[in-house]
Symmetry: C2
Subunit: 378 residues, 2 copies
Amino acid sequence: MTDLDAVDPLAPVRELFDLDDDVVYLDGNSLGAPPRAVADRVQEVVRQQWGRRLIRSWSEGWWEAPQRVGDKVGRLVGAAPGQVAVGDSTSVNIFKALMAAVKGTDRAEIVVDAGTFPTDGYIARSVAELTGLELRPALPDSLELTERTAVVLLNHVDYRTGRMLDMAAVTEQVHAVGARVVWDLCHSAGVLPIELDALGVDLAVGCTYKFLNGGPGAPAFLYVPAAAQATFEQPLTGWTGHRAPFAMDEGFTPDPGIARARVGTPDILSMLALDVALDVWDGVSLTDVRTKGLKLTAYFRSLVEDLPGVEVITPDDEWRGHQISLRHPDAAALMDKLIGRNVIGDHRPPDVLRFGFAPLYNRYSDARRAAEALAEIL
Amino acid sequence: MTDLDAVDPLAPVRELFDLDDDVVYLDGNSLGAPPRAVADRVQEVVRQQWGRRLIRSWSEGWWEAPQRVGDKVGRLVGAAPGQVAVGDSTSVNIFKALMAAVKGTDRAEIVVDAGTFPTDGYIARSVAELTGLELRPALPDSLELTERTAVVLLNHVDYRTGRMLDMAAVTEQVHAVGARVVWDLCHSAGVLPIELDALGVDLAVGCTYKFLNGGPGAPAFLYVPAAAQATFEQPLTGWTGHRAPFAMDEGFTPDPGIARARVGTPDILSMLALDVALDVWDGVSLTDVRTKGLKLTAYFRSLVEDLPGVEVITPDDEWRGHQISLRHPDAAALMDKLIGRNVIGDHRPPDVLRFGFAPLYNRYSDARRAAEALAEIL
C-alpha cells in the first residue's frame, strides 16, 4: 500500500498537521487533528494581539473575524462571501436557524431526521414547544412532506452510519411543498463538495472542530443566503448582531447582512485558531479530497468487512461520507483495545465502532494498520 | 504617589500579568489584561492535549471543564461548588436565565434596567415576545415591582456610569413581591465582594473577559443555585446538558445538576485559557481588591474632577464599581488622544469617557499618569 500513498496527490498535505507518526488517527470526524500553524498563531494572538495591543485589537481585525472566517468556511461549502457567520455552538445555531425558519409561518410541523445527532432533535423539540408547532421525526427515505410542513432539519451525513443524503434531491423535495430546509453539515463540511448557493439551500449549520480541524469546541457556523437575510429573525438578539453595536441603542435593529446571525462577543482565541486552521485548504481541491475519501473508506472496508462478528453499516455506494462504521457486540471493548495500540477511532453506543477518514492527513497505510490491529484483536 | 504603590499589598500581583510598563491600561472593564500564564497554557493545550492526546483529552479533563472552571468563578462570586457553568456568551446565558425564570409563570411582566447594557435589554425583549409577557424598562431607583412582576434583570454595576446597585436590598425588594431576580455581573465579577448564595439570588450571569481576564470573547458564566436546578428549564437543550450525553438518547433528559445549563460542545481553547487566568486570584483577598479599587478610583477622581469641561458621572460614595466615567463633549476625540499617549481607556457614545481600574494590575501611578495626560490634552 506504500504505492497508494506514494501516488496520492494529497499526501504532502499531511505535513501541515502536527500528528505523531506512530498514531493512526481515525477520529477526525469527531475532533480534527491540529494543523501545525495553530500553535504559533494562538501564541501570537495571546502575546501580541491581546498582550501588546490590548483593547485596540478589537478594531484591528477581531471585530469582523466572525464574517471573515465565515467567508473562509463558505468557500468550502459553496457559499459566496457574506453569507456565513462563525460563532456559538452548533446547538445554538440550530436554534437560530429553526426559529428563523418558522418565524411567522402558518404551517403546522417541523420535520427532523429520526436518526439525527441528538442535539438536533432536542433543539428541534424545544423550538416546536416554543412556537406551538408539532415536531415529527421521520426517516430520510420517507419524509412524507406536505403543505403542513414548515421546515425540515436534516444531517447531510449521518453521524452513526456515515450515510450521506442527496442534498440536491432532498432540497428539491422540500421546496416542492413550499417548506424550508436546514442542513446540518457537521459531518460533511470540509470533506465533501457542497454547493449551498447552487442548490438554493435555505439555511445550514455546522461545526468546525471535525473535518475543519478548528480545535476542540471551536465555534460553529451558520449559513444564511443573501436573499434570506433581510427576513432572518431569531430571538438571540445579542448586541453584536445589531446594525450599530457601539451606538448602544435601546432598541434592536439587526444588521442588514450576515452579521445579524451573530449574538454575543466573539470568542477570539478559538476563532483565530480556526482562521489559521482553515489555511490547510489553500490549493486543495475538494474533488481530490472526495476522491481520496471514497478510496480510503473503500480500502478500509475491503480489509474489515469479512472479519468475524463485524457488520459494516456504512453504505458501500457513493452515498457515504468519509467514515466507516462497524457494528460489533463488543464495540466498546474493541475500541479500548484499538486505542491501546494507538489506533484511534471511537465508539457510539450501543455497538458501533466509527473510523473517520480525513483525506488531508490520513494515509492508506493508516487504513491498513487499523484493519490489521482490528483483525489481530478479533 | 510612589508611596501608595509601595505600600499596596496587591502590588506584587501585577507581576503575574503580561503588561508593558509604558502603557497605562485602564480598560480592564472592557478587556482584562493577559495573565502571563495564559500563553504557555494555551500552547500546552494545543501542542500536548490536542496534538498528542487528540480525542482522548475529552475524557482527561476537557469534558468537565465548564463545571470545574465554573467552580473557580463561583469562589469569586460567593457561590458554593456545583452552581456555576462556564460556556456560551453572556447574551446566550441571559436568554437561558430569563427563559428559565419565566417558565410556567402566571405573572405578566419582565422588568429590565432602563439604562442597561443593550444586549440585556434586547434579549429581554425577545424573551418577552416569545413568552407573551410584557417588557417594562424601569430605573433601578423606581422599579415599581408588583405581583405582576415575574422577573427583574439588573446590572450589578452600570457599564456606563459605574454605579453599583445594592444587591442585597434589591434582591430583597424583588423577593418581597414574589418575583425572581437575574443579576448581570459583567462589570463586577472579580472586583467586588459578591455573595450570591448568602443573598439567595435566583440566577446570575456574567462575562469573564473583563475583570476576570479570561481573554477576548472568553466564555461567559451562568449561576443556578442548587435548590433551583431541578426546575431550571430553558429551550437551548443542547446535548451537553443531557443527563447522559453519550447515550445519544432520542429524548432530552436534563442533567440533575448545573451541567443542565450547558448547551453545545465547550470551547476548550478559551475555556482553559480562562482556567489558568483565574489562578491570579489565588491567595488574593477580595476585600483587599475592593479596598484598593475604591482608593484607586477616589484618587483618580480627585485628580480629574476639576478639569475644565469634565463632569464625573460615577457616584462618589461607596455605590460604585471600579471605574470612573467622565462626561465631556469631545469624549471621542479625547480618548483618541489619550490612546496616542499610551493611556488606554474607552469611549461610550455620545460623550462618556470610561477609565476602569483593575486592582490586580493597576497602580496608583497609572491613575496619576492618566490624569496628567488628560489634563495636558485639555
